[in-house]
Symmetry: C2
Subunit: 295 residues, 2 copies
Amino acid sequence: MSSNQSTPQQTESPSHPHWVGETYQDVIQFNYRITKTLYHQRSSFQDIKIVDSVRMGRMLLLDDCMMTTEADEFVYHEMITHPALIAHPKPESVLIIGGGDGGTVREVLKHPSVQRIVLAEIDGDVINVCKEYLPAIACGLDDPRVTIEVGDGFAYVNKTQADFDLILVDSTDPVGPGQILFSPEFYQSVFKALKPDGIMVNQTESPFAQSSELKPIFDRLKDIFPIVRPYTGSIPTYPFGFWSWTFCSKQYMPTINLRTDAQAELSKHTQYYNAGIHQAAFALPNFYQRKLGLL
Amino acid sequence: MSSNQSTPQQTESPSHPHWVGETYQDVIQFNYRITKTLYHQRSSFQDIKIVDSVRMGRMLLLDDCMMTTEADEFVYHEMITHPALIAHPKPESVLIIGGGDGGTVREVLKHPSVQRIVLAEIDGDVINVCKEYLPAIACGLDDPRVTIEVGDGFAYVNKTQADFDLILVDSTDPVGPGQILFSPEFYQSVFKALKPDGIMVNQTESPFAQSSELKPIFDRLKDIFPIVRPYTGSIPTYPFGFWSWTFCSKQYMPTINLRTDAQAELSKHTQYYNAGIHQAAFALPNFYQRKLGLL
């Protein structure tokens, strides 16, 4: 979920397990002591690595960027999913762009009204590796309600018209292959692929990222969606430990007229999300509001 | 604000500025590229280091643990201060234990009702170094309302009776010299040093720390104070990027009957805190509630 920089590593030896991690924009480095590298291959798209860490459980890294860890993946996957699905009165059809680890699918499947999930992931190897090495995250990918489309997410959205209640953009960063998923053209296509009362959620980087990285994305979204509300959550293994998503909606508001009964039932099965967190996530610190031009 | 572990560093050279950071419990490492070491001495109590980093501004490290950085210090200092001072109807006298960098003093001074601040910091060298190298943080230390007591905070609290509206425990971690500031005896003394309607706030580690580190502290506080409410904020340079404080009160509640006019005025001069953040901070994720036995 951050920029592509390789990380210096210590030499591996049985008595001295090495460190694996991410270097963010060549100025911040976060490393985790690991006990084992379980998988390390280059796919057609990227370098894929699975390691066991001492403190954060098993980890998936793509191009040396931390994608998901067993210890904190629940924050990202619950927060990209539940606020929008609880704000929608009857979510039935959901498109996920990216999200090949399956964590977002797993969370969407917690909503009984959902009948159809399409996962459009560009890298089939990510799906296969996560099914094998991260079964607790990928567990929903074989559910009969799920269709997996291995291919370009933008192309899939482009050929779709007014078909989905929700589109969740579970993308990498706005650099390299993920960049297109932050473009005005992509957002326009998502808008068309949503039903007239649809909601899109996308991951929108850390509030501690530079204003020049955050503001253009926010402005683009406001050009297209009538309701655009950033929200936040704490993810230890992402840069700065503080992350944002943006709720982009044609009609429904993010914090009123929620399905509170469904929310109470859902919260029995979540590790981060609950009714208080739903409201709290949309309260933005002053510095972030200032970066976005909201204050 | 975390455990004492030295950090491997690359060799310094003009063309290859090195990295400085913290290793947390020997399993997580976060490093920052720096351009210059401005100060590095051992005081009677600890190793004190001031460096200039590329991304997070100037930094203070004590015993190779990150204490404060110019880029994110506002979160910690605003959040240890403003929720309690806005919940108290008329805060006039405030005791700060620790907090030698002066950031907490600076925030307390934003409340016009405050007439007297005592800062009890054990290490006079920290105060002097911060005055010289971190003037934007230490700026309030020379204010006439501030008395600096260089010495043992526990001893200072012990000789004080019903004297303070608020006591803010701006301590290091519950290891080494900071350990005593998490003991039942210390909390008892703080209770006695507070007026009959007083409030204590202490920093209580990351919600992502082990339950065995968090639960005993919470239980001890509940044994002594009738109202004990943990709350959170996001601090990139502390372990896991997600931090907690605990609001411990004899009478006033943390989220009702707030001084909203003062809050609105204050929020013009803060970078993190505002009315929405005040409420949001007390909404706790399920995993944290479970660790504390609240769910």
